[in-house]
């Protein structure tokens, strides 16, 4: 599992490759917080290559969303597979996040 962070059209894009779980969630959190501290305000987390997110991973996303909002920033999630969508719906976190079907769709809402 790994995270790839890069900037595209003024948006910090984070690709999560593998699983976002209790064992690696702090790494994702720190990477995003570093960018936030550096002044970035638009974030997109792309789950196209993510197999699973556990409750700790969901918790980190909730926490990041709050911190980004507090700094006047925006966060979008994209490319959730069927299992991940079910997790977001069961936990009602689909009502807390803006979730796009594709990266392009998410980028368009951050423009």
């Amino acid at each position: 599992m790994s995270f790839r962070v890069f900037k595209e059209n003024g948006v910090v894009v984070v690709e999560v490759d593998g699983q976002l779980i209790v064992g690696n969630r702090q790494e994702l959190k720190q990477k995003v917080l570093d960018e936030l501290e550096a002044g970035e305000r638009k974030f997109l987390i792309d789950f196209a290559k993510t197999g699973y997110i556990d409750s700790s991973g969901l918790g980190v996303l909730v926490s990041l969303s709050k911190k980004i909002r507090e700094q006047g920033g925006e966060l979008r999630l994209a490319n959730l597979n069927e299992d991940l969508r079910t997790l977001f719906e069961l936990t009602k976190l689909d009502t807390l996040f803006t979730i796009a079907d594709s990266r392009d769709e998410a980028m368009a809402t951050l423009a």
Binding site: S56, L87, T95, L96
Partner: protein, 152 residues
């Protein structure tokens, strides 16, 4: 390292115990191992990749983090029985236990923004049977091959 011990089981079933140290890095390999054993019984699709995975990962994380407070001297025990109809799991730790019925509902509007408290809720939504022992340091779960009701 985690350790797997095969147990005597009924005919046509796999019965084994996995013991692991209380370190979160062992969760992923143990989950992959058990999912692999279930695949050998032709479990597939979301019942395998979502329901069973959630059951194991959340129960192990609770046992390691909340139960054993990540003390590597303490062990977590996972007992598994798999047959053609169902997967039975029992996860136990060496901690003092907790009261699973007193947890707040993480989907209530006032709790949606909280970073914690979704593990036991997900277990209960995605496994078919979930029962804690009286002390609250062991949970027994059952997942049937076929879903009685859709999860959504």
């Amino acid at each position: 390292m985690y350790r797997v011990t095969e147990q005597d089981g009924r005919e046509g079933a796999a019965h084994f115990v996995v013991e692991l140290p209380s370190e979160v890095r062992w969760i992923e390999p143990v989950v992959d191992y058990v999912l692999g054993r279930a695949e050998a019984f032709a479990y597939a699709g979301p019942r395998l990749t979502l329901n069973l995975r959630v059951g194991i990962i959340e129960a192990l994380a609770n046992a390691i983090i909340c139960g054993n407070a990540e003390d590597p001297r303490k062990r977590v025990r996972l007992e598994v029985t798999i047959d053609a109809q169902r997967v039975e799991l029992e996860v136990s730790d060496e901690g003092p236990g907790f009261s699973p019925d007193q947890l707040p509902d993480p989907t209530a509007p006032e709790n949606l923004g909280r970073p914690c408290g979704r593990g036991v809720y997900l277990l209960r939504r995605l496994m078919d049977e979930v029962r804690y022992n009286e002390r609250g340091n062991a949970v027994r779960m059952v997942l049937y091959r076929e879903a009685a009701l859709p999860v959504r």
